[in-house]
Symmetry: C2
Subunit: 236 residues, 2 copies
Amino acid sequence: MTSRIQGARQRARGEITNAIKDEARRHLADEGASRLSLRAVARELGMVSSALYRYFPSRDDLLTALITDAYDAVGAAAEAALAEAESAGDSHLVRWRAVCRAVRAWGLAHPHEYALIYGSPVPGYAAPASTTRPASRVALALLSVLRDAHTSGALREPASGAAAPEAVLKDAELLAEHLGVELPPAVLAEVVAAWSQLFGLISFELFGQFTKVVDARDAFFDHAVEHLADQVGLRR
Amino acid sequence: MTSRIQGARQRARGEITNAIKDEARRHLADEGASRLSLRAVARELGMVSSALYRYFPSRDDLLTALITDAYDAVGAAAEAALAEAESAGDSHLVRWRAVCRAVRAWGLAHPHEYALIYGSPVPGYAAPASTTRPASRVALALLSVLRDAHTSGALREPASGAAAPEAVLKDAELLAEHLGVELPPAVLAEVVAAWSQLFGLISFELFGQFTKVVDARDAFFDHAVEHLADQVGLRR
DNA sequence: CACTGACGAGAGCGCTGCTCTTGCATCGGA
DNA sequence: TCCGATGCAAGAGCAGCGCTCTCGTCAGTG
């Protein structure tokens, strides 16, 4: 029963690790990422600060864990919204809107975690490679809407007048492999653009740039998302 | 000659204030906003840390000064690009693109100052009212392009199929007064949306979300900006 | 049962933002 | 021309920070 005993140890360790992250998230909401204090977290947990280093080798590693969790949370929210829209038999346009709304709703509910992942990158901090997969979940959800629309012929050709750049993306084949289907490069480029613009809308709302500017924010957001859907070629 | 002597004092004070801000900007580029250290700035200037408090009552006030300066710098860049395009007799579409390009170029040249104003808001920090005017200069530049296009009849009606929200903005009259001309509310809403999406494009590029995704970034940006122009009703 | 390894506690280092007091130079009015 | 007021820099000091190292202790292992 070696494994079970070791399991007990690791379970205890996992629980404490989670308690630390939960407390850190609470402090994040109170003070923001740059004021997050290991000592304060430890104090709140009844530990001494040095004990915390048994679980996270540095403050930045704790932040990395929070970042990964946040990417996973927003990605899961987007995927859940997509799955629900799919099982309801919604149109591709409605699915697109559902994903966009889910991302915005998650951001409104967790503004500090949103700022952690979509705000300024932390100073000397470079996101480790382990964050790239969670970070791409929202984009993949959007892309899979487009993929399904494409295979079912519901996608307008994005020859929207302006010369659509062809080879602006890296690794289009890798993406195609991941999605299981090849999307026209122009469509891929449009989706990436729409993806970044979606977060522009959400970030400006969350970071206060819409204060004293935008009033009916739900309607405003939905309207802009409609434009983005049009831009990527989803039929109205 | 009271005023001249006091002027000398204030001139010395102004010079030191600028030296502090310059040194702080240098540290900003090295370390990022949250690691900006008053003591390090003072050390570099051959002062003792406490002397710095004669010029800025707190670290946050120094940051506020840098934020205001950054808003003014990017606003000035946008306005300069617009003025040049106007004097060259460029079309409204080309003026629009010129402003967008100028904002992106400024961001690429000053990534840390960009992050300071368009990244996550500093923790407990609420931007004082004095920053709102500098912060709106880019948006006003974009709006003035639209105003001129509107008055010269070069603006397509933004009845782009989807129900354009009418009353999503606050203070539409105040804006109209500032611009000297009334733009249809629907156009105003489209411009605000395009404005935020523009910064989504730039932020994702600067904050590293395009790493391993987008290759030909100039072309990618120009193409997206073309879409935004279309969205706000500028004729192609 | 003896042992190893994980763990928490505590002291301590150098740094931070910020405050308060002190001494000095300069400026303005008598 | 002298004197009081004012602006300014320096220094000491406080509490807090991230992080390191050492040292008992106790639980799981062979």
